[in-house]
């Protein structure tokens, strides 16, 4: 589930994170036991001669000597102390300052929050290294001052992050509920806000550590480190300014540099791992190469009056423990000029069925079996180029929630023009533009709105624009996926009316995917009721709704309130729809079915022909119920 609390528990399985932790561990140990490890004391005074300077690596000096004839290895070991102290101490200061600022700015959105945010914005535009240089130059180059300066300049990122997190937590319903219960600010912060914000803040702090380490070494390299202390930046500064490059003494430069990279990389790896655990990023997208599975060709001939013929469609998704069957053996037909409703509860596979039929599945999903015949052409086995030419030209889709289905940064008109010209290269831009205007008028949007961006239209208008887009290439079939979900009843009625008018006018066939039995009754000729990825029942709407044959259809109708019969008691179906990872072995509905008997739990029922169509239920196998024996 999506709202599983994110924690750091999975860290041990994150390989890069563990490598980072090991690398950091080594650095910390080295810093602690520096006197034991270092062959020489780099802080000791030694008398030197010219010959001792920049000596190449040898048995007595494993990494050679530096400009002061000191052992590079020993300095390197002691240098870990400064880097780590500055890194962690600076980051703690940054986290405290930034965390407090962000928490207050996010929780108190009023003037105080505004002022704090302005201050943060101000520090965000100030070039930090320049300010750091100025500050350290003014206050003096002691370790304490450097830690303070780095800590006090590194908080802006944390503050912004914590603020935006706090703002979003504040709007979450469980916080509003606690507020309505009368919770005080302190309770709210302690119980709800901080626990949500803290993990992300810790992950961020790890990255702040790496910034602090880099800042310290940069300062030291520029000659602004604490002159009394040996740090890696300091070593690089002395090596660089005192002729290591011209002397070709790489050993005075490369080791301290790599040491910095080692520590920063270790911390960055840990930070990235923590962020991965808290915010698993999307890793799949719609343009990934498609996997076409060779399905068995059917011998059956296309039927005359059938436009879309889906036969035994089976769709699977990659799961953590093997493939998950989301749609299984689904067959239905869409006659020319007919409107077919696919109805079911969330997760029953209705959207997957239609997207699968058009090979538009989310990444990781593929057709495992079956055919999809559009006018006799098998979409499931077609070459990608051929399929691309056929899309939208013959089958268009009206997606759910047109806000995201239309490109937010392009105008409605340009998106319609684009698809018209993609499928008809001969049409001029002007003709296509005129046609886009006509289409908008046809769906009840003023012509001039071709220049509008999606966000400038209301929800209902966006859905109309989506319908205009679907009509752009005069398709034979329109698939509407939850076309009215999230719209108000009146807007829903308007959109359904529009679809009905267009359907009559243009004679186009339609598939309407919905969870609303009322929409099916209003808008469709035939219905396919789905449950658990399979067809439970199908047939003409009026007959199926009047005489439902499958217990699921019957119970669903009973659970649905109507306005005509307000006194009728509604009944829930006990239990919940099955999860894909845990499908029952027999009939998908058996665990919730009041009429289930032994066979239902063991075998999958086939589709039996019934008085009102076809239904998949063993009750119909009994002679008392069934007309004919099943297919």
């Amino acid at each position: 589930m999506s709202d599983r609390p994110r924690g750091f528990r999975g860290f041990r399985r994150h390989r890069l994170g563990m490598i980072g932790l090991a690398m950091l561990g080594i650095a910390v140990v080295v810093a602690f036991v520096a006197p034991l490890l270092a062959p020489y004391d780099p802080y000791a005074n030694v008398t030197i001669t010219i010959a001792d300077i920049f000596q190449p690596p040898s048995g007595s000096h494993l990494l050679g000597t530096d400009d002061g004839a000191k052992d590079v290895l020993s300095a390197l070991i002691y240098g870990a102390r400064v880097s780590l102290i500055v890194g962690f101490a600076g980051a703690i200061i940054s986290m405290l300052v930034g965390g407090t600022m962000g928490l207050i700015a996010g929780y108190r959105a009023g003037w105080l929050g505004q002022v704090l945010m302005r201050i943060t914005d101000f520090f965000l535009v100030i070039p930090d290294l320049a300010l750091l240089i100025v500050l350290v130059a003014i206050v003096g180059q002691s370790l304490r001052n450097i830690i303070l300066a780095i800590g006090l300049l590194g908080w802006t990122g944390t503050a912004r992050l914590v603020r935006s997190q706090t703002l979003s937590v504040r709007e979450r319903k469980f916080v509003l509920r606690a507020k309505a219960m009368g919770a005080g600010d302190w309770y709210m912060l302690r119980r709800h806000v901080i626990p949500q914000v803290l993990p992300l803040m810790l992950a961020n702090t790890v990255l702040v550590v790496s910034l602090a380490i880099i800042s310290e070494s940069t300062l030291a390299f520029l000659g602004l480190g604490d002159p009394r202390l040996i740090s890696w930046g300091q070593m690089l500064n002395l090596g660089f300014t005192r002729g290591a490059v011209s002397a070709g003494a790489w050993w005075a430069i490369i080791p301290p540099g790599l040491a910095i990279v080692w520590v920063v990389l270790s911390v960055t790896l840990i930070g990235t791992a923590l962020e991965d655990l808290l915010n698993p990023k999307l890793t799949r997208h719609h343009l990934e190469p498609e996997e076409i599975v060779a399905t068995s060709p059917s011998g059956a001939q296309p039927v005359e009056d059938v436009l879309l013929d889906v036969r035994d469609l089976t769709v699977a998704f990659e799961g953590e423990q093997g493939p998950l069957i989301a749609v299984e053996n689904v067959s239905f037909e869409v006659g020319r000029g007919r409107v077919v409703g696919i109805v079911g509860e969330s997760g029953c596979g209705k959207t997957t069925t239609v997207l699968g039929a058009l090979r538009l599945l989310a990444p990781g999903g593929k057709i495992v079996d079956g055919q999809v015949l559009l006018d006799g052409l098998d979409l499931s086995r077609m070459e990608p180029d051929e399929l691309r030419r056929l899309r939208w030209d013959r089958v268009a889709i009206v997606f759910q929630g047109a806000m995201n289905a239309l490109n937010p940064v392009r105008t409605i008109g340009s998106q319609i023009v684009e698809v018209i010209r993609t499928h008809d290269g001969d049409i001029t831009k002007d003709t296509a533009r005129a046609r886009a205007g006509d289409l908008l008028e046809m769906v009840g949007i003023p012509r001039r709105r071709v220049r509008a961006h999606p966000h400038e239209l209301s929800g209902g208008m966006r859905q109309r624009a989506m319908i205009a887009l679907a009509l752009a290439c005069e398709p034979d079939l329109i698939i509407a996926d939850e076309p009215t979900t999230a719209l108000d009843v009146m807007t829903q009625a308007q959109i359904l009316e529009l679809l009905e008018d267009l359907q009559e006018q243009l004679g186009v066939s339609m598939v309407v995917v919905t969870h609303d039995l009322g929409v099916v009754n209003d808008a469709c000729d035939d219905v396919v009721v789905m449950y658990g990825g399979r067809v439970a029942e199908k047939g003409p709407v009026a007959r199926v709704f009047r005489e439902p044959q499958h217990p699921y259809t019957r119970l669903l109708l009973d659970a649905f309130p109507t306005i005509e019969d307000p006194g009728r008691p509604l009944v829930s179906i006990p239990g919940a729809p099955p999860r894909l990872s845990d499908l029952p072995p027999g009939c998908r509905f058996a665990p919730r079915c009041p009429s289930a008997f032994e066979r239902c739990h063991e075998e999958l029922p086939p589709l039996y022909v019934t008085r009102s169509g076809e239904a998949s239920c063993f009750l119909l196998a009994e002679p008392a119920f069934a007309g004919d024996e099943g297919v």
């Binding site: 609390p5 626990p195 109708l557």
Partner: protein
């Protein structure tokens, strides 16, 4: 039946918001009157942007009224001192639309259920027993199996029951439920609605239900108030309003509710266009630009809510007899 004093009284409530433009102010709620008595389920119905959720938030003390009063159990929410407000809040609980967002994913079910008690410093008796009792009351049985689980282990319907259990743990007198079932699967909605109704009937809790779904209202609410653009345009006993709507807006809304009955024969009354922006409220009757029965006086006169039957009132000039 209703002998007791109303638990919730909303009196001429007005709520303004800052608009997008500087200095612009948007009136989200414009003079709403409503009462809820113990044991009664009252529905506030309307399309998105009509002000129903803002009204609910004003009741919960989450937004402050610009004018008017909200009284819960005799306490004026907006003007109460801290202690009185806290006392009022102990008697009033909220159920939100989204059961996935309503539960803190880092808390256990037991902690969530006891949260109201913790906030109000209740420590008498066995808290765990109390949590178990509330869970059982909300239909989560056996309660012991739920107490130490976390929200992500539960289904949507179970989560909404946890929210209800949390509300029940402090024994409230008023529950404000904002679209309590709209995010749930149809097959389990009835269970939640039946539970809420039984809480009203058996525990004498007053329930204010915010919804856009008139068919839900029909089966589960005693009284109904229909809002349009910040105002109540019609209110009355549910069955009466549904059987004989007096306001053209109510009539249109009822006519477009989809029905799964193949013999359903109501002709839908489709209104033109969309609900206007709350920043540009039309003159006179605010519904007149879309009203199928509009006549000359409508743009000039703002109709009052007038009695058309026993407890049934509508704000339309056709009702007030000014039509001539």
């Amino acid at each position: 039946m209703r002998v007791s004093e109303p638990i919730l009284v909303i009196d001429d409530l007005v709520v303004d918001f800052h608009g997008r433009k500087k200095g612009e102010s948007i009136r989200a709620v414009d003079g709403v009157d409503l009462t809820v008595s113990p044991g009664e389920v009252v529905a506030l119905v309307g399309e998105s942007g009509c002000g129903k959720t803002t009204t609910a938030n004003a009741v919960l003390g989450l937004v402050s009224p610009t004018s008017g009063r909200v009284t819960v159990g005799g306490i004026d929410i907006a003007n109460a001192d801290k202690a009185a407000l806290k006392a009022a809040r102990a008697g009033m609980q909220m159920i939100a639309q989204d059961p996935y967002e309503s539960l803190n994913p880092r808390m256990t079910i037991g902690e969530i259920v006891l949260e109201p008690l913790v906030i109000h410093d209740f420590s008498e008796g066995d808290l765990n027993a109390r949590a178990a009792q509330a869970l059982g009351h909300a239909g989560l049985n056996p309660p012991k199996e739920f107490i130490s689980r976390r929200p992500h282990e539960l289904s949507g319907g179970q989560r909404q029951r946890v929210v209800i259990a949390a509300a029940l743990s402090i024994q409230p007198r008023l529950i404000v439920a904002d679209e309590p079932v709209s995010m749930l699967d149809v097959s389990i909605r009835a269970g939640i609605l039946n539970l809420l109704q039984s809480l009203a009937r058996e525990d004498d809790i007053g329930i204010l239900m915010i919804t856009h779904d008139l068919s839900t209202v029909a089966a589960y609410c005693d009284r109904i108030a229909v809002m349009y653009l910040g105002r109540i345009v019609e209110t009355g006993p549910t069955l009466e309003v549904i059987k004989s709507p007096q306001h053209p807006y109510t009539e249109a809304l009822l006519s477009v509710v989809p029905s799964h009955d193949p013999d359903h024969s109501m002709t839908p009354i489709l209104l033109e266009g969309e609900t206007p922006d709350a920043a540009k409220v039309p003159s006179g009757c605010r519904f007149h630009p879309r009203c199928p029965k509009v006549f000359e006086s409508c743009p000039m006169v703002e109709p009052d809510l007038l009695e058309v039957g026993e407890g049934h009132r509508a704000a339309c000039l056709l009702v007030s007899g000014l039509a001539d």
